[in-house]
Amino acid sequence: MPTQRTPSATRRALLGSALVSLLPPAMAAGPLTRRIPSSGEALPVVGLGSWITFNVGGDEAAREACVEVVRAFFAEGGRVIDSSPMYGSSQPTIGYALARLGRPAALFSAEKVWIGDAARGPAQMEASRAYWGVARFDLMQVHNLLSWQQHLPRLFEMKAAGQLRYVGITTSEGRRHAEIEQVMRAQPIDFVQLSYNLLDREAEQRLLPLAQERGIGVIVNRPFREGALLQQLSRHRLPGWAAEIGCEHWSQVALKFVVSHPAVTCAIPATSQVAHLRQNMAAARGPLPDAALRSRMARDVAAL
């Protein structure tokens, strides 16, 4: 198992990091994108999570509503959809939506392996693949670091064999950051997924700078604290600076704060409503806050 990147990979990663940039005007009509440091592939800065919102079981009406959310997501230029075997029926719901929409070519599928017995990892990933109905996943992440020592070598082998395109690890709500840092330093992963939002900013201290330094893409989960942040903020009027960055809703403020961090590749807010999806995707358009405004945003929101 390699513990360091090759020089060319490092150069590419640093270049990717340094060029964390918006795509040229040809893509101006679409959402803002960031490049994956390890490959240079561009991804829209706002993706789609599926925790809770797509776990609808056999509820046909709710499943059809999810189809409309996914339809609007692709119509708005979205690409990254993230799920996990831990998310109940979210995987079959995504698979159903993708089949209904004719399997959009733009899809960037991000999945997770979540099982303590690593020997059962391949079967779980195959079950996930069957639920999604995709030929292979673009990104496979070790969910919440569960048995990562056993899963990661297999994921790297699968990547080398072309069965995956990227490998990552995840955590949420600030857990096990020291261990995440250890993995980021020692393993040639393409992505790390973590929680980061206007109030939970621990990742800014070490993990986000380390991701930039090591050329690791960052997927941000829980940008709204599972909705609690927006519920809290909804009691207050939007500050004056929100208009400066084209925000009409608090969700856009929260997302623009997250995706404007130079280390972040994309955020994956979850929603079951098309109107909210469109609000979220609008955060991937227009100006992003600069460092000074980001500081002010965090300060003002913390004071509310």
Binding site: I52, N55, G57, G58
Partner: protein, 226 residues
């Protein structure tokens, strides 16, 4: 304390709530549509049983006790299959592990009904609290959906939904005694379910969590007093 333990201690009940309240409550709508008119049949049978028991000042006799145990055992089995396994498990992986326990509870209650010597408990307090819990589960629990502003089609009925089934079982067990069979063993799952349900409902932001919680407190209090 190891990092593993501190990691687990950082979790809150909300971290394990993997479905939305709207989807959860709609499970009962699906259940009611699929099984109607079973709900009416169960209510009529239960009212007939209460009339039968009501004639006897000493509480349920042996035949009434065995009939109620057998009927509720069937209710646990239906709840295990139709609610936990078919409807809840797809949105909550834990339900897939709990469903077999519900079937075990059904088997134990049926075994007791078929072979066990059960009779009404002599203590009047236990009988009164037990009867109250039964009546609640049968007639009042289904009203909670409407009172909470949810569609009436989402009402929870004994023998289909787990909360009223568990509450009714606690009520019945309070009313019974058995010289030979360890009835206490039958308390474990209804109590555990009510506690789990209370935490789940509170985490969903529903005040209805107080209902299974209060049922457990009342049943345990009456059992210790009686």
């Amino acid at each position: 304390m190891s990092e593993g333990w501190t990691d687990w201690l950082s979790y809150r009940p909300s971290d394990f709530l993997m479905f939305s309240p709207r989807i959860y409550w709609r499970l009962f709508e699906s259940l009611n549509l699929a099984f109607w008119p079973l709900q009416a049949g169960v209510a009529l049978a239960a009212l007939a049983w209460l009339g039968w028991v009501g004639r006897d000042a000493g509480g349920p006799g042996r035949a009434a006790a065995r009939a109620a145990l057998a009927a509720l055992a069937l209710g646990w089995a239906i709840t295990a299959w139709a609610f936990l396994w078919q409807r809840l498990a797809p949105i909550h992986w834990l339900a897939g592990y709990i469903a077999p326990l519900f079937l075990l509870q059904a088997a134990a209650m049926l075994t007791l009904a078929l072979h066990g010597a059960v009779q009404g408990h002599a203590d009047r307090l236990r009988r009164a609290v037990g009867l109250s819990l039964l009546v609640w589960a049968l007639l009042l629990h289904p009203l909670l959906a409407g009172l909470a502003g949810r569609p009436w089609m989402q009402a929870e009925f004994i023998a289909l939904a787990s909360d009223p089934t568990a509450i009714a079982t606690l009520g019945l067990l309070l009313m019974l005694r058995s010289p030979h069979w360890p009835l206490r063993a039958l308390w474990a799952l209804p109590v555990a379910w009510c506690v789990l349900s209370a935490v789940t409902l509170w985490t969903m932001g529903s005040a209805q969590g107080w209902v299974p919680w209060a049922a457990v407190l009342l049943a345990v209090w009456a059992a210790r007093r009686g």
